[in-house]
Symmetry: C2
Subunit: 304 residues, 2 copies
């Protein structure tokens, strides 16, 4: 079983990248797409993100065997309700949301009796909108599939094949485990980056112009993440509240311990902590999950 | 007045880059170098980081008109004391340390009567050691010079010209203002990155292998900074304690406010905060202080 008629609901960074990746890697499949924003639909048509941009969500899904909803996680239920009546029987509905328990609940409520298999490709950039997508976004990235209890294994297998065809590696886990893992690898990093960029722009003793000029000392890395889509991230924090608050609690404890080490001048504790965090970077690079070049390769390109 | 005989004490990322940049941009100048580690001296010789690698610090400085000390900020005083007796009269002594008040005090104590003009090129990568340096490290980066009260303006001007010749733009400010600015643009980002990478590797419900696999969700960016040299960073936090603790206090307040917004489900506050941090990223890119390509250009190179 392979999906042949793929409908993409939401044509931003993720939805657009799926459309382009399907065209490149699954040339026999056809794609339809819809976005609630008319300007995004127009731009998606210009860029040919999908074969056919439709004027309604119902038109986009009415012949689909796979629907992938690519909207902020707080808007998933509403987006699904909009096309529920037009969905062909037997179609699989999936998504790309960054929190999975709340999305599963919202989609199951909006689509009773439908084969809902939530998924999350762990890939993205700080850009958003119909101009942001590109076909290679999922290459060598992981896609996590979180099938609800009782999901048809054939649907899970078909969705896995779909993501593998787009270049991703697939892992299957429960939605609750996903939400805990992503709270530390993605949600907390974003919260912290948003926080420090805000802190820096509110200082009275240091001007914003100074913060910008001397950002190469480390700060600029955080500004990339803090430039991510605000609606998407608001929804992530509201829908994965428990896991995020749990991870934040642990982070705060660790930060307090380092703060104390600085205050009392405990150089040994600082050194020990700083020495062991090097290893994890090495593993990430070995696993192909980041650039091997120092400074993300910035210096190779005349940017530094 | 231009420096013609430059001694570099400490041949790691910064010292090595200075040696290579002088050869490229100031071909009429000669360079000597010394490192306390014999293996680093040998490697520096192989890579020809300076024209002549010396066996003692005194040999390296004995004919210099500019000495640049490139060791961790906690080791500056000792490094200066080692060559103090051999320093020619009239030579200027500078450094590249990330905290400036403590370095100024240490150098002035070790070198009474010497023209000490501390400086800090805001440039670097996560690599360290004699293999890490490269000639273009300072291109388009700022170098902050923090002359003590009563410094000879001719020396400040000569040091400014030196750094401009190496590709940097120069700003002059007080050491105390420098320490506050860098606390927010560099020291706090490093502390936070070191903290979250430690937090992630200590979790019991999420394996380290999962943290690594799904690091493309944002976490991997923090691991780059947290791979920086532990000795250097221990010293930075111990020597710029007050400013770091002050910035940390503000960061913690802001984080607590966002934590509360998540807990009570205040989506509006989250959205507002996340929307305003986008602007600062745009300014950093416009000022040439970071890469314009999404995701630091990772996706252009088959890394994602």
């Amino acid at each position: 079983m392979t999906f042949q008629r793929i409908a993409v609901i939401g044509l931003g960074l993720l939805g657009g990248s799926i459309g382009l990746a399907v065209r490149e890697h699954l040339p026999s499949a056809s794609t339809t797409g819809y976005d609630a924003d008319p300007a995004t639909r127009a731009r998606a048509g210009d860029r040919q993100l999908v074969d056919k941009v439709c004027e309604t969500a119902a038109d986009a899904v009415c012949e689909a065997d796979l629907v992938v909803i690519c909207v902020p996680v707080g808007a998933m239920g509403e987006a699904a309700a909009e096309f529920a009546a037009a969905l062909p029987s037997g179609a699989v509905v999936s998504d790309v949301g960054s929190s999975k328990q709340s999305v599963a609940a919202a989609l199951e409520a909006a689509l009773p009796g439908v084969a809902v298999i939530p998924a999350h490709p762990v890939a993205g950039t700080e850009r958003s909108g119909p101009d942001a997508g590109f076909a290679s976004l999922f290459q060598q990235r992981w896609c996590i599939i979180t099938p609800p209890e009782g999901a048809d294994p054939a649907n899970v297998a078909a969705l896995s094949q779909f993501w593998e065809a787009l270049g991703a590696r697939v892992e299957v886990m429960t939605a609750s485990h996903h939400d805990m893992v992503l709270a530390i690898t993605s949600h907390l990093p974003h919260l912290i980056a948003y926080t420090i960029v805000g802190t820096a722009s509110d200082l009275e003793g240091v001007t914003e112009s100074e913060v910008i000029k001397y950002s190469a000392g480390g700060f600029r890395d955080f500004t990339r993440i803090a430039a991510s889509d605000p609606t998407m991230w608001r929804d992530v924090f509201l829908t994965n509240k428990d896991a995020v608050l749990e991870m934040l609690q642990r982070f705060t404890e660790d930060l307090t311990a380092l703060q104390r080490a600085i205050r009392v001048g405990d150089g040994e504790q600082l050194f020990e902590h700083f020495a062991r965090t090097r290893e994890i970077r090495r593993s990430i690079i070995e696993l192909g999950q980041d650039d091997t070049r120092p400074d993300f390769g910035r210096s190779d390109h005349g940017n530094s």
